[in-house]
Each structure stands twice: as C-alpha cells, then as structure tokens.
Amino acid sequence: MSIRINTPSCVGCKRCVEVCPGNLIKLVDGRAYINRPKDCWGCTSCLKECKTGAIQFFLGADIGGKGSILSVNEQGDERHWIVTSPEGTTKTITVNTKESNKY
C-alpha cells in the first residue's frame, strides 16, 4: 500500500512534502517524488493536502490490491473519495466533514 504521484499534475507547492508523517516525499526537479514507497503508512494526509489531485493511493498486491486507485476531491464541507478501477470505472463515496461517524 502506498501512493503514486502523477508528476505532470504536480505544481511543486510542497504541501505534501511538509505534511508526510514519514518524511517520505521529497521535491525532485520541482516536483513531488515518493522516496521509499514501501515505507508509506497509508494515512492519506498527502492526498488531502494536494490541491491539484496529483496524488493517488493504492493497495499493494500483498494486501489484496488489484490496481484500483483512491483519490480525494474536496468541495466545501464535502470530501469525495473516488475509487477508480483498472478498467476505468469509478465509484464515489462522499463524506460530510461536519458530520460524525455513525459507528
């Protein structure tokens, strides 16, 4: 489980570099780059920081990953979590950040 960074979408703002709890994201040639992808905890802090949607999250095959990616898009109080399958189909789950979990 780790993240991947879509380099052309990265604007080099360093927000992800700053926030990663493992100091794993570095800026190389002005673009974010994940150093040691195996050391990612999967907290998704970087996805939430990224304003251009350049960072996506995936599960390693060793824990059941099959190539889908998870991305985040925030609009106001709503956080949209989008799962995109390798075939390109998507499913979106929207969480209202001002509402509590039910469980």
């Binding site: 998704t44 824990i63 969480v95």
Partner: protein
Amino acid sequence: MEKELQVEIKNTDVLIIGGGTAGCYAAYTLGITGEHKVLIVEKANIKRSGCLAAGVNAINAYITEGRVPQDYVDYCKQDAKGIVREDLLLSISENLNEVTHTLEDNGLVILKDENGKYVTRGNRNIKINGENIKPILAKMAQDSENVSVINHVNITDLLVKNNRVQGAVGFDVNESKAYVFYAGAVLVATGGAAGLYRPNNPGFSRHKMWYPPFNTGAGYAMGIKAGAEMTTLEMRFIALRCKDTIAPTGTIAQGVRAKQMNGLGEIYETKYGVATCERVYGTTEENRQGHGPCYLKTDEISPQQEDELYKAYLNMAPSQTLKWLEGGQGPAEQNVEIEGTEPYIVGGHTASGYWVDNNRATTVQGLYAAGDVAGGAPQKYVTGALAEGKLAALSIADYLKNDLSPESDDSWKNIISEYNQFLNNVNTNISIEQLEEAMQKIMDEYAGGITKGYQYNETGLNLAEEKIKGLYDVLSALEAKNTDELLQIYEIKERLDLSLSLIAHLRARKETRWHSFGENMSYPEVNKDYEAYINSVLENGQLKIIKRPLVVDDYEPLVFSFNHDGALLYAGGEL
C-alpha cells in the same frame, strides 16, 4: 572530504519532544497562561504527525452520563489484571471530559442526539468525526504566542547532568544541520514503538501496520540511555485488526455488534475471556487449534450499515474501504477476516513506559513524560493522552518556579560526532533495510512475535538478547548518505535499545498474567509474587531490574523526591 553537520544552539524554558497528541495538548495548556517560552520539536510536521495522522473513529475514553471517573479506573485495572497505577488512571479519568469539551470547542465534530447529548458507543465511548483531529490539535498548540514549533528535527538524546535534565540534541532530517536545545524542563511525548517485531505484511506493505511505523521508540531509548526508570515494558500491546489492512475492528465489533467467529462458523467471542489481551489470545488459539481463519461476522448487516462503515473507515483507515470496494464484496456480503498484529510497546494501550509520578515527572529531575511514552496507565487512548499532556504541562509550570537554569557544557559534542561518524562511514554490504529485517526477525522468532503465536521462553529470550547485542557492531558501520538516512539509522538504533530493555522485562516477569501480551512459556501460570511492577534502569551500562509494590486500592498518589543536587531520593517502594 569529512562531512560535518552545522550546529545551532537554542534556548527555551520548556522543550516538548514530539508534537503528537500529548505534546500538542501540553503546549496548548502552557499557552493558556503564556508564562513560559515553549518549543515543540517534531521529527515530521505536527499537522499530521503521530497516531492521529489519518484520523480516529471515536473517543474511546469518556466518562458517560451516570458514570464516575473511578469506574474507568476499575475497568482499566481489571483489563490489565491488576498491574496498573491507580493514581495515574484516576487523574487521567478526572480530566477526560474536560479535554473532550475543549476539543469540541476547537472544532471537533461529536455526534449528539435530539436533546444535544453525546451519542455513546458502549459505556466509555462517544462518536465523532475524527478525521481532522490532528490539524485541530496542531492549531490549538500553535495559536499561542509563547509556543513555537520546529518541524522535521529528530531528537535522539537527552542532555542530563547529575540526574537533572538540561536539554536535548537532534538533527534536521532534511538539511545538514544539528541542534542543541537547552531547556529548564523537558517533556518527552514521542509516542510508543512499532517495528520491533516482524510485521503482519513484511513485504511491499511492511508499513501497513496499526501503530505509526514512524513511532520507533525514540522517547524510550533516550530515557533509558539517560538513566530514567521504565516500567511494565513486558505488557506488550497486540491489536486485533482487519486482516491485511490492519484497520481497526472496534468500529465493526461495537458499531454493528459483529461477533468473533472461527472458520467453522462457531462464535468464540467470550470463550477465552473478554479482556483486551484475551480477545487476541482467543483468535490466536482458534488458529492454533486449526479452527481458523477467524472473522467478525458482518454478513447480516444492512446495505445502509455497510455504507456507513465505508465512510467511517475513510475517516480513519481508508485502505479498508478501498479493499472492500476493490475486492467487489463489502462487509454485508462477506465476513471481515481478522488477525492479531505484531507486538508494540505503547503506554496508551498497556502500562508500558516511563515510570512517572502523579505529576508525570520521571526519575530524571526536570524530565516529564506524557501519552504513549508514559507507563502505568493503560487505555488512555486519545483523550487520556490529552489529559496527561495537560497534567504534565501544569506540573512543569510548577517546577519552573524553582528557577533552575540549564547548565551548558560540551557533552553534546559526543552525540554530534556520532551523527558525523555515520555520515562519514563508507558503505558496507549491509544496508539499513537489512538490519531492520534482522532485528525484526530475531524479535519475532525468539521474543514472541506473530510466527511464534506470541509465545516466548527464557532460553529464547537469552538468545534474542545475545543476537540483538550482536547487531550494534553492524549498526555502527552503517553509512548515512544524508540526514534522511541518518534518521533511518537512529530509528533502528532506538528500537535495538528498547528491544534489550523489553527482553529484560519479559524475562523478569516469571509468570503469564496476560495471554498473548506476555505469554511466558517458561512460567505459563499467574504467580501472586508478581502482583508488582517490573521496572528497569540502566546503571553503569547494566540494566537493573527493580520490583516495586502496586499503587492500587488504598493508595497514596506517588510523588518522587530529589535532593537539591538532582539525585533521586524516592521513586516508590521496593520489593
């Protein structure tokens, strides 16, 4: 060419090592009076560092209506089979609700019913949206004018003279720079330790673990080296988690009341007892007897409940929701497989950590500990760590009235020359990664890891000790190309230091009081002689075990005393 880190010296009244749950709340507390200059030094960035990075699903320690703080103390004591500090637990419990309300005032969303009352989940929990709990806490800490933060600096060593803390030493993880911090008082709030044992997913997803893989026991290691007393390290914490993603199970177990079920379809929920350690043990035993795999039985929940679970997991462990969606079957169609994690050392869940008094003072004068790094008080969870942050901050403010200025000398130079040595080493065929694997393999095989069903015995522990000691020579030859690699080396070094103390503790408790957490096969029964704390302190390079009487029932809160030179006079009775 010799590589040498630049050195910057900084002075502060209060140094907080680690800007996580406890550290941020301590800074916030010291910010209210604004009297002292406070500096948080954090190895990542306080906005999303520590246990709360991804969020948390519930407040698990809250005194719900009709209950009193002593009820919470009694629950913790029972769950830990008596080995707790009642003084610490009570002072935490008395503050749980206040810190919760303060967080709510600062923006934490808590679920309320139509009468405006918190909706509870069981007897001690309330429901929240905890995704943004860490940014809220970080802001609370930073909003005070007297609090400043240095992110991305990793502290490795405390400066201690005549048993009185003077400050600490660390390095910038991105730049070629070292820091010496002098402080009147130091709060260690670095969290607990993951990664001592081989993890559930040792391959690509090696860091998909319950506890933050970046919490590598720095606080314990610096305390052990500085001669601070540690307690109950042998009460390891093993979490029962969703298989593969190592996501929490409480949300399912308590949220939709899913029961633990074995591979034969039998519910084993209460067969082995209901204490936290017994829930793990039950699952381990069912597997050992050939009745696995084990599950949480969720296949009767409704599609609406499933949707709510998807959202709840996105707010704390997004990998689990992704796994459900990617696999094509959610929990309403397929029971959730569960497994125990590798053992962690974490004082927010068990009683492992610094031996502290009721003021959260350690046995080193001027050094305080709070949160996961502090021992004696299990089941702190988030709010308990906040409460300890508050209590430590108030004690520190009181201590600083003594006006004990730190004494500067050049003892920091040895620490920085050790950093420089790693930066100037020439690469050998042993890598940092190999050494981590070697350590985790030894601990797994000889000190009761996953592959041994969490069981260990004296012969194995002796071998573990010998083999861990053997890794130090390899470690000292490692090369750090930059301070990022230096961080990785220190993250192994501190785990080796902690492992040696842990092994000594596991060996010293000659009984099995807690299944799985401390399954000593050389002594598989409970022994009344061990209704005591097992503590340890490093003296002249040797770990000394101290057995201390329990602070329970008709207890007096423990308060340490020091003489005017800083020497420790009293830190509890001895058996």
